[in-house]
């Protein structure tokens, strides 16, 4: 393996005269990686929050119905 190809950080950031071209590709790749990790993780979080809300709502309705039925019987 060859050694580091740049003598300074400035030279590395410049990438010769191709600063925009090289870094824009790596930036777009970072966007792809981030988006494809964040999207499914966020969808899972939303799904779990929704299901928990639904379960709480169902419990409240079941509780109210139960109380109503008990009231009718007494």
């Amino acid at each position: 393996m060859s050694g580091i190809q740049f003598s300074s950080l400035g030279e590395f950031l410049l990438m010769g005269k191709y600063t925009f071209h090289v870094w824009s590709v790596y930036f777009l790749f970072a966007v792809l990686v981030a988006a494809n990790l964040i999207t499914p993780l966020r969808q899972k979080k939303i799904f779990i929050a929704e299901q928990k809300r639904r379960a709480r709502r169902d419990q409240t309705i079941a509780g109210a119905t139960g109380a109503e039925q008990a009231g009718v019987k007494s």
């Binding site: 590395f12 191709y18 590709v25 790596y26 790749f29 990686v33 494809n36 499914p40």
Partner: protein, 248 residues
């Protein structure tokens, strides 16, 4: 064999197995990707013609190659859905489409950026570029079709058929550089000889990036499939237990 096939088709089994595998896959992928990117950006020698733009290759080539594998994968999952009505296969097919869209989009964008430097143009109606653009629109079509059809079964069937038909484009993309005289170069050969045009110091980091990006594709495919499993199996007891037991 059949037992294994039917077990593999169980969404719950897949969910539980992937829970065990995911952390390991993420660790291996992160190590490979960090190594590959650092190597590509810092250690790969400047090309005598292309200068530092050779570093674009370490993103463009793996992304473009893997974007080509996503369409056949979606078509195979679609065929399994049509023939055996396996629910998990349709979930995988559904997860493939947006990932394929991302990968093909980046392959086109990074190719255009690189092409601007080495060809002097962002775009040319060359066979490789045009066939890859068709793949991009096919992925758009599959994603749009899935969201346009209300019935999940009808959407699964329609997407499976479009995927199988659209897979015809994959060998056209792959062999376009051999069949036609294109601006895009044909596939390169690699040698272990240090004085060859493509010595190991060029292709070893490329292979590392290829495996890293491939693993990344597998990880995001698993993550999307897992969300799909939860949504479709939300009335199953095991999903209700999982939701009840989760902290968030």
């Amino acid at each position: 064999m059949w037992l294994w096939f039917s077990k593999l088709g169980s969404p719950r089994w897949f969910y539980e197995l992937s829970s065990k595998w995911l952390p390991w896959l993420i660790v291996i992928m992160t190590i490979l990707m960090v190594t590959g990117i650092v190597w590509a950006l810092l250690f790969v020698p400047e090309d005598y013609q292309q200068g530092h733009t050779i570093r674009i290759m370490y993103i463009h080539v793996p992304i473009a190659a893997i974007s080509l594998s996503l369409f056949p994968l979606m078509a195979v999952a679609g065929a399994i859905t049509l023939v055996w009505k396996m629910k998990l296969a349709d979930m995988v097919a559904k997860a493939c489409a947006p990932i394929g869209l991302w990968f093909t989009g980046l392959a086109l964008a990074s190719g255009a950026i690189w092409g601007d430097l080495i060809w002097g143009t962002w775009w040319a109606w060359d066979a490789r570029l045009t066939s890859l653009l068709i793949q991009f629109f096919l992925f758009v079509g599959v994603v749009a079709l899935r969201s346009a059809i209300e019935s999940p079964d009808a959407a699964a069937r329609a997407c499976a058929i479009l995927s199988i038909v659209g897979a015809i484009n994959v060998p056209i993309i792959k062999y376009s550089v051999n069949w036609w005289n294109t601006l895009h170069q044909p596939a390169s050969s690699f040698s272990t000889d240090p004085v060859s045009p493509n010595p190991p110091e060029i292709w070893v980091p490329l292979f590392i990036m290829f495996f890293a990006v491939y693993l990344f594709m597998v990880i995001t495919l698993i993550l999307r499939t897992r969300v799909e499993i939860l949504q479709r199996e939300r009335r199953s007891q095991w999903v209700m237990d999982l939701v009840a037991g989760s902290g968030s």
